[in-house]
């Protein structure tokens, strides 16, 4: 069933590089009739650096926000960022399983955390609480050129004990959501392979190799874009794509979209509204031939059409292969 209101923790990245993720999320949830209330004066969840340094510190930094949400009387906290999510889930689990830890954490806090906040990724909210039908019913636009590889990243559904969402090895929530929007989805084997984003700055050589591995697999599975649910993955694959090409001598030009952006497009929002212009690898070619679907046309027939265009195979593909100017622009900037 759909919960009308959620506490919405966008997380730091969505105020920075991932602003279009934030924008598109807010737009589509509004369209789907879900209210998001931003916790007052939230702070950084601590992310990888904190728990790498000390579990207690990590716990406290996350718990500060949980404590704020706890006092909002909204049952569930949702965040689009898997890193924040796992920080919250870890803190919550530790605090509820280990009394001593909870006390220690609360000693560091100004307002104590009692342990009453349930956290869900925004993807989970849309997939489970809102549901596929509701999403499909909002679709007004067809995106015939997209051949998406859904990339979930490493911690959205793992470890299963903690994430308690989707399949840890072969998650399908995004695949299904996109399909519901009539988008063709490819069978992508590296859905949960780690891209190394956490080390984007200090261990570039490492990250570029992992990222290259992922992008290679994307091409192998016949996709022409990657759809993600994690700001760090997006940052890594999009911002650093040029770096990858330089370092590994490849020439990828694969647009990296947030699932919320794809939903936004399908719901009929313009690329500008969604902030697609912020992407480094241009998405223009992908969405050039999108057209509004006629009123009487049902989602299922859209799917069929998409299948057909897929059946035509290469024709469709070459049709939306990145034009030279795109690649140029990408490299010029680099």
């Amino acid at each position: 069933m759909i919960e009308q209101e959620y506490a919405y923790y966008s997380g730091c990245s969505l105020e920075g590089t991932a602003s279009s993720y934030d924008r598109s999320i807010r737009l589509i949830l509004k369209a789907l009739g879900v209210t998001l209330r931003e916790p007052d004066d939230w702070s950084c969840c601590g992310s990888t650096p904190a728990h790498a340094m000390d579990h207690l510190l990590a716990g406290a930094l996350a718990a500060r926000n949980l404590a704020i949400v706890e006092r909002m009387e909204t049952a569930t906290l949702t965040t689009p960022c898997p890193a924040c999510l796992s920080a919250f889930k870890k803190a919550h689990a530790r605090a509820t399983e280990d009394r001593a830890f909870k006390d220690e954490v609360n000693q560091l806090l100004d307002i104590p955390y009692e342990g009453g906040v349930k956290a869900k990724s925004t993807l989970q909210v849309i997939y489970e609480d809102v549901g596929l039908e509701a999403v499909a019913s909002k679709v007004t636009t067809v995106l015939p050129d997209l051949k998406a590889a859904c990339y979930y990243g490493c911690i959205l559904s793992r470890p299963p004990r903690l994430a308690a969402f989707d399949d840890p090895e072969n998650p399908i929530s995004m695949d299904r959501l996109l399909a519901a929007c009539g988008v063709e989805v490819c069978d992508f084997a590296f859905k949960t392979e780690c891209c190394g984003a956490a080390f984007g700055v200090p261990k570039k050589e490492m990250v570029l190799r992992l990222t290259h591995k992922v992008l290679t697999m994307v091409e192998d599975c016949g996709a022409n874009c990657v759809v993600v649910a994690c700001p760090l993955c997006q940052q890594n694959l999009d911002l650093r794509q040029a770096q990858v090409n330089r370092a590994m001598g490849s020439s990828f030009s694969i647009p990296i979209l947030y699932f919320s952006e794809v939903l936004g497009l399908a719901f009929g929002y313009t690329p500008e509204e969604l902030g697609l212009d912020k992407h480094i690898v241009s998405t223009d070619a992908l969405i050039r031939s999108r057209r509004s679907k006629e009123a009487e046309e049902t989602v299922s027939t859209v799917k069929e059409k998409v299948k057909k265009s897929a059946a035509q195979g290469t024709a469709g593909k070459s049709g939306n292969a990145p034009g030279p100017e795109d690649t140029a622009s990408a490299t010029k900037e680099a």
């Binding site: 602003s19 100004d110 190394g196 080390f199 700055v201 490492m206 680099a334």
Partner: protein, 182 residues
């Protein structure tokens, strides 16, 4: 290669120390190597995860805590997800890192520097500010040009002024109290 002398102390003390810190039971590990096999970082590690686990089982404290591996682990949870013995291996690596941190053993200087930059930004603003982190990191690490090649469009993305939150003192207090505790 040195001969390792196995005594009940060497065999038990470190293992129980790690169990203490993580709540994970080291004895359960039967060295199947699944973690090593799945880990995206094995190729960058000095010791594969399964061997780190073995070091804990056999009390090789020094070796384990001074390894690069514990710093290069990104907690991607692949190992924890697939461990047939239900050990949260990623948590164990985290635990080792925590101990190393407390004992100021920083085998991977750059990563440490990045973490500190991150935490400083966090302490100053209550939230983090990507550009500042990079700047700080470059200064501290001496790799002045890191990500300078990202180009203007990216830099624009990396966003103007830090958002300072009202409760930033209150976040700073958390960090302060923590520092006092440890």
């Amino acid at each position: 290669m040195e001969t390792i002398h196995l005594t009940s102390d060497t065999l038990n003390n470190f293992a129980s120390e790690v169990s203490e810190a993580t709540g994970q039971d080291m004895v359960r590990c039967y060295q199947c190597g699944n973690c090593t096999a799945g880990c995206p970082y094995t190729e960058f590690f000095d010791y594969p995860v399964s061997q780190i686990m073995r070091m804990i089982q056999t009390g090789q404290r020094e070796k384990a805590l001074s390894s690069k591996a514990i710093w290069l682990c990104a907690t991607c949870e692949t190992c924890s997800t697939r461990c047939p013995c239900e050990i949260d291996v990623a948590d164990v690596m985290d635990g080792l890192r925590n101990i190393a941190y407390r004992e100021k053993r920083f085998t991977e200087k750059d990563i440490r520097t990045f973490y500190e930059a991150f935490l400083t930004s966090l302490r100053n603003h209550g939230r983090i500010f990507e550009l500042e982190i990079i700047a700080r990191y470059n200064l501290k690490s001496g790799h002045l040009l890191t990500d300078a090649d990202l180009g203007p469009k990216v830099m624009k993305q990396l966003h103007f002024l830090p958002k300072r939150i009202k409760g930033r003192e209150n976040v700073a207090r958390i960090v302060k109290r923590f520092m006092e505790k440890r």
